[in-house]
Amino acid sequence: MTEQLRFRNLTLGYDRHPAVHHLDGAFAVGSLTAVVGPNGAGKSTLFKGVVGAIKPLAGSVERNGVDPQDIAYLPQVAEIDRTFPINVYDMVSMGLWRSKGLFGGIGAKDRDAIEAALATVGLTGFEQRAIGTLSGGQMQRMLFARLLLQDARVIVLDEPFNAIDAKTSADLLALVRQWHSEKRTVMAALHDLDLVKLHFPDALLLAREPVAWGATATVLTDENILKARRMCEAFDEHAEACVVAA
């Protein structure tokens, strides 16, 4: 398999406390992986490491020719100022940043792409609406339209279906499936294990330490899930320095 992302003995965390501990493994090009695990398991932290938002405490992330800025990333809680006076169209068009930069103009072709992205997520007609008037589901649809425009080889989704109704998550899941069929590398943090089993070929079960990583059926066994639950979430203020060989 061709590797898109490889972790080598990766430890990520905050203030020297690991949130992801000694992770080894790789995402293949074109893989569709669900990252599952209890709250505090390190899913978001892992994604921040993938997109380069935090530096590893130890080990490394190899991105095999993909610039961190070319990875499309949907954070769990977007830091969006919903009161800001900007409309849906302009917000979505920001997805073209990597090709347009600071000064690039948005031409007829780009406008078509923006309209197409809005149509794909079902937001046609919302172009001039201020982002503050959107519902939670519409907001998530808008962010997916922006992801579409980013046209990235690697797409990282941190709990994309949280607090989203069934219809919306089904629509957005269809997009994820489409990305997979286009051989993009997609990883998503999820809590709905039934959904994972149905739609995600691969899974990574995380509980600070990696519990299992591979084909979903072999990862999401009752035994593994129990193991993940037992691993403690709390961090120890007075933990000793880790002695596992780097």
Binding site: V51, A53, Q69, I71, Y73, P75, A78, E79, I80, D81, F84, P85, I86, N87, M91, M94, W97, R98, G101, L102, F103, A130, I131, R146, Q150
Partner: protein
């Protein structure tokens, strides 16, 4: 009519200069004010205005009422505080408003002290409230250059600046331009405060920046229109304020700011976007 609205400017050169000064000031400061407001930095502008004072006062201490010494001193002091405050906010837990609140009051006290060492009470009044009716060529040019630099500068950093306001996380994920835009924006803020300092003084400089901006919020739903309204409101307030000052002998700086304040109060009541009257009587609800 003509006598009331035109004659003061056609007859008196100092009025024409004052008008040119406040117009240039309005066009530069209005857009900056809109971004300050949208970045929830309204009070930052106020704090920075005071940070300019000790620098200008040091310039005054060294070379008297020399424009370039005072402007340079003000800019240096303003830049130092702007960059320090920006760095502190980005690298520590301390929020920008808290660190600036400390700067603000220390700077004001320090500035007043330095001016008092050498100057008279009249000088002190000029520092605090400006001399919009006594703008010389150099000062006018300084204000005009600052306004020009501001508009071009904003055009350069417009995209990252907007994106940093609305979705900073996304900007960080696609570009490193956010920090540069933030620092450049603070620099433009300082330029405008130095301009405002000469015309309206350290205590009122922020008025021509923030009042038009908060006024614009009541009339526009998108940022482009908001910027245009802010610049226009500042210009109208400048013109009307100078007229009021001329006809009633009210000090001109406060008159300009009071007119801007009156426009704000009217907008607060009647503004189409969230004005109090519209909130109280929204009309019947729609079908969908």
């Amino acid at each position: 009519m003509y006598d009331l609205f035109i004659t003061p400017f056609s007859e008196f050169e100092f009025m024409r200069r004052a008008l040119a000064g406040v117009l240039a000031l309005a066009f530069g400061a209005g857009p900056i004010g809109v971004f300050l407001m949208l970045r929830r930095m309204s009070l930052v502008g106020d704090a920075m205005a005071h940070a300019v004072l000790p620098g200008a006062a040091v310039g005054f201490l060294i070379s008297g009422l020399n424009l370039f010494a005072m402007a340079a001193g003000g800019m240096v002091a303003g830049f130092v505080v702007a960059i320090l405050a920006g760095l502190v906010a980005r690298t520590t837990e301390l929020k920008e408003d808290a660190s600036l609140a400390a700067f603000f009051i220390i700077s004001l006290a320090l500035g007043v002290t330095i001016v008092s060492i050498k100057g008279t009470n009249i000088d002190l009044l000029h520092f605090l409230f400006g001399t919009v009716l006594a703008l010389d060529d150099q000062t006018l040019i300084l204000i005009a250059v600052n306004a020009t630099v501001t508009l071009f500068g904003l055009a350069l950093i417009y995209r990252p600046l907007v994106l940093e306001c609305v979705d900073p996380g996304f900007l960080r994920s696609v570009s490193g331009a956010g920090a540069v835009a933030h620092i450049a924006f603070l620099a433009l803020l300082v330029l405008n405060l130095v301009s405002g300092f000469h015309a309206l003084g350290t205590l009122l400089a922020v008025g021509i920046m923030m009042l038009p901006a908060v006024t614009a919020r009541f009339w526009a739903r998108d940022i482009t229109t908001m910027i245009a309204i802010a610049a226009g409101t500042g210009a109208v307030a400048g013109y009307a304020g100078l007229l009021v000052s001329f006809h009633t002998a009210v000090p001109s700086g406060p008159a300009v700011i009071l007119v801007a304040g009156a426009i704000y109060a009217i907008s607060l009541l009647f503004g189409r976007v969230g004005g109090l009257i519209w909130q109280a009587f929204p009309g019947r609800h729609l079908e969908a």
